[in-house]
Symmetry: C2
Subunit: 462 residues, 2 copies
Amino acid sequence: MGNEARLQDILTQLDGGLDAALDRLCDFLRIPSISTDPAHAGDVRRAAEWLRDELTGLGFDAQVHDTPGHPMVTARSPKGDARPLLFYGHYDVQPVDPLELWDRPPFAPAIEDGPKGRVIRARGASDDKGQLMTFVEAFRAWKAVHGSLPTDLILLFEGEEESGSPSLRPFLRDHAEDLRASLAVICDTGLYADGRPAITTQLRGLVGQEVVIHAADRDLHSGSFGGLAANPIMILAQALAALKDGTGRVTLPGFYDGVADLPEALARDWQALDFDAGGFLSRVGLSQPIGEAGRTPLEMVWNQPTAEINGIAGGYAGDGFKTVLPAMARAKVSFRLTGTQDPQAIRAAFQDHVRRFLPADCRVEFHDHGASPASVMDITDPAFDQARTALSEEWGRDAAFIGAGGSIPIAGDFKQILGMDSLLIGFASDDDRIHSPNEKYDVEAFAKGARSWARILTALRS
Amino acid sequence: MGNEARLQDILTQLDGGLDAALDRLCDFLRIPSISTDPAHAGDVRRAAEWLRDELTGLGFDAQVHDTPGHPMVTARSPKGDARPLLFYGHYDVQPVDPLELWDRPPFAPAIEDGPKGRVIRARGASDDKGQLMTFVEAFRAWKAVHGSLPTDLILLFEGEEESGSPSLRPFLRDHAEDLRASLAVICDTGLYADGRPAITTQLRGLVGQEVVIHAADRDLHSGSFGGLAANPIMILAQALAALKDGTGRVTLPGFYDGVADLPEALARDWQALDFDAGGFLSRVGLSQPIGEAGRTPLEMVWNQPTAEINGIAGGYAGDGFKTVLPAMARAKVSFRLTGTQDPQAIRAAFQDHVRRFLPADCRVEFHDHGASPASVMDITDPAFDQARTALSEEWGRDAAFIGAGGSIPIAGDFKQILGMDSLLIGFASDDDRIHSPNEKYDVEAFAKGARSWARILTALRS
């Protein structure tokens, strides 16, 4: 009997086991695995061990690996001749402050009736324990129906995602041989607006750069020196202002090397999303897209690179007025990257740009804050269309290929260290209140999430 | 016997009375008339009364006037048919913190031997009690020789100069009839570099303006919104950068209306000063004049207007990095004015300029911080050349007509409220440590200062 023939049995199995699956999730949610708080280090380890035991019980070869920080959990299903897939999630959670804003204790999960249906209420319900368990429940149901786990699965569950993943890259490098698959599957994203299932196929990269302009060796009186001595705020303002031309394009030489127009198929997909830029902006008090002329708003945030000033400081900006010519001025600048833009080349072009504005008697200091290229998945990999079809069937509406304006560092890490693209699928909703009090996950997202993975696994294993 | 014939007697009188004059100055310096410290309000009044008594003893009609703040001291000499002159100085002093950096108690004055000669060491020795007493000692010696005071003098001594002169303008308005003369004489300036006597004949004005750009109604994530939503720091940077063109000229329409090239005679005078711009800048770690091409460095700071950014703040500028698109950004900008530039017109032109950079969904907020025009004295008034000749004779070297890059508000107030130009002459040195611990005044400056006023009075009364 082929895998597809058994899919219906797996879905039935999942539906019948939903209450038991929710009980297991609640057990998992009771462990306060807050990774940023050293007082909870033991709880983080307990969550890792809970997962290991759960996976071992399903027939995985599961292990807890010590790191300089919190443990990594890995698990492997039996080897076969299928396409190896790496599933990634994280079992640590955000802190719960301010505790008084929670309607119930954050680590005493409960199923509640909400206006849109039942929800699982607890810290980590959505981010990421609930999502992670959609994997596990799909594997469990598969095994119940097939009698064995899908072969050639590698699982990697991290305990430091909410504290910056300091151990992740070294761990990927040290265990590259064991972890390398042909595709990663990441369950840390959400549904698109109004509940449409989505696969994030491209994420912008990021270069962060601090620039400090030094002029005189002390603050000067602007009466005595104004018009004669260099003003570092003016130098900085001129360098930053010249980063963009009148049409919104970034002016750095070579900046657009590697930036590609959106493939026609994706352009059609994005068009079909009917993104309401006006509504999106009006929720934050704005109304006008400011990106490059001729681009759609979704292109501006998902497929176009940009230069942004994230912070600036210099001289006296407090109450009242000081007629000072300051000794220095600083700014934090970031570039969101798309396509194959080279972060290091862009950093260098920015530094050259600033130096062109620098008088000979001033100096500039640069501090680097991260550099990661964009993640653009190869959507000609049939897995993407197979997963899209599976999602569309499960949710009863067309799944979308979408982009993301921010980065999900793990996708870049998998690409750079393990050479894999990522299939980014998740079932979180905008109203899940992740990182906030009263976090929840929709029971429907949990149930249909597990069913979605059963469908996707079946499609990828056909 | 004419006044000029008696000048030598006055100078001899001053030389013979120097020790007694120093004793009187030390009495005055013992009164801790710190105007910013309410605990010293009684001392400030005591200093006012000390002055009144001193002036009454010389035959002036002297009064202490209450104000909402510290008192004003006025005094008048008998009326005659001479040109009325208003002498201005201030009897309050700066605070003394940090006290532990003083080599002796700040209000226990002493005559000390210094590397360049004797000095009077105390708070206020130079700023401005010592300078003020050069007036008084000149009047005293005049009376001793002539038998009566010079006629048609009005004296105005303020007790709030070190705390922003809040009562001064209302006092000038309320007593305009009594205080109006044909020329003010102000003793709160210094010798030019290396001790050359100088008359400050022009001071730049000042317009202070704060600008706040508001974009979204909250800080945004630059991943989700970058390239789509307005960035107030970029708007601000572009507006500020465009204030100057590539040659250093301010671009505001009409900005240079009223700015005049330096009259040829002054240009020659300034040239003769051999201003060492390189040395001036190198003392603060710089080397390159940045003003408008084709201007000398002294023109840049004394005769050219300028636009300066005195402070800027927006977004996150602390340690590390935040990928934030801030809701707002602010800057403090000032314009130094020359000639007859109109402060209000320039404020309006700047606001219009900023608004041109403002997207329709952002808004701007302006806060005004003072507006005063430049003070440019009419040096065809013969008093200026008479005073210059008198100074040159006393100091044995050519006195200079100089400018000042900053403003001395009292000169503007006299012009605007009383319609008088000011003869700004003082004998302070750069190394007097005014406002700092161990303030001093050179005994030579005190002695030659009083002699200078005797010569100037004689010249103006001839």
